[in-house]
Symmetry: C2
Subunit: 185 residues, 2 copies
């Protein structure tokens, strides 16, 4: 009930876009760009930052498959609380497995949830390597690094796909802003 | 940075009032009453519901001392995320031990955080018994029930105290709304 009142106050619906994609595919960069644009147009929007969550709510978790799933489970529950508070959530998480994405999706009503696949070939992600993690993983120093030492299953039924290969960031942001605008109504 | 922008949009600061008090002292009832009033005046306000959290984010936790602390730790981290999103959070949790309250407080900046003690004598809480839990605990069926089979340490340094004994709910709500109004500016 408070959700509806907050949505009326905010002038838009709550909801979530859950990102999936390889490390370095551009998830966080796009999420931050989209948040900037949505804030400018008065949308109450948050980005759930996986690195930040791992310093706080999820600091007891590692990178085993079980811990990664629990990391996502908690992030999704938090996203759901934000949706109940009438906010729009951008959730850029690798979310590597189909089974993980099914668990995440299960916490939301269909109308509140969209899965976004941020698509980029592995070798391009390795070249970008924004956090220097691929080079560590390729040197054998990261045992559970998605794309190198842990699997990534590309989604086959994402609600929306953004291909970041050879596309300007600004264009990716524009595309997702348009998609989100439809979900806000 | 997005916090400040959301606060400007909302017209008020984010923050949290963390409740502590015995089961049946009136925490949730007051929180819901205050939320209603704050929503009416356009404040973006959420109540973190402990029972709801235990069905979602914290559904893996029981009622041992360690699990209760973890329950509170996660709730506090979620509250902190809401504060970062410019929202005002009412967090009615028993939070029975001084040490638990210290952990909770440690996650927030002093300007964002207030501890509220909802004060009520144990025998009055037992008489109210809104969820029928005291009668179960007194019958020996609940091994970790605060006030009966688990300890409650009354806080000595709460930022604000509301005594619910012999005071009308509406007056308790009025008092807390006034307190929160000062924290919103």
């Amino acid at each position: 009930m408070s959700r509806e009142r907050l949505e009326v106050m905010n002038g838009h619906k709550g909801g979530v876009v859950w990102f999936t994609g390889l490390p370095g595919s551009g998830k966080s960069t796009i999420a931050n760009g989209v948040q900037e644009r949505l804030l400018q147009s008065g949308v109450r929007c948050v980005v759930l930052d996986g690195d930040e969550l791992r310093k706080g709510l999820n600091r007891d978790l590692g990178f085993s498959e079980a811990d990664r799933l629990e990391n996502l489970r908690r992030a999704a529950q938090v996203a759901q609380l934000f949706v109940q508070a009438g906010m729009f959530v951008l959730a850029p998480f690798i979310t590597p497995m189909d089974s993980f994405r099914e668990v995440v999706r299960s916490f939301f009503k269909p109308k509140d949830y969209s899965e976004l696949y941020v698509k980029c070939a592995l070798d391009s992600c390795v070249r970008r390597d924004p956090k220097g993690m691929y080079s560590q993983a390729l040197a054998g120093k990261l045992p559970d690094f998605t794309g190198i030492s842990a699997p990534y299953e590309p989604p086959v039924d994402a609600d929306f796909v953004i291909d970041t290969e050879g596309v300007e960031l600004q264009q990716c942001v524009d595309t997702l802003v348009q998609f989100v605008q439809c979900r806000l109504q």
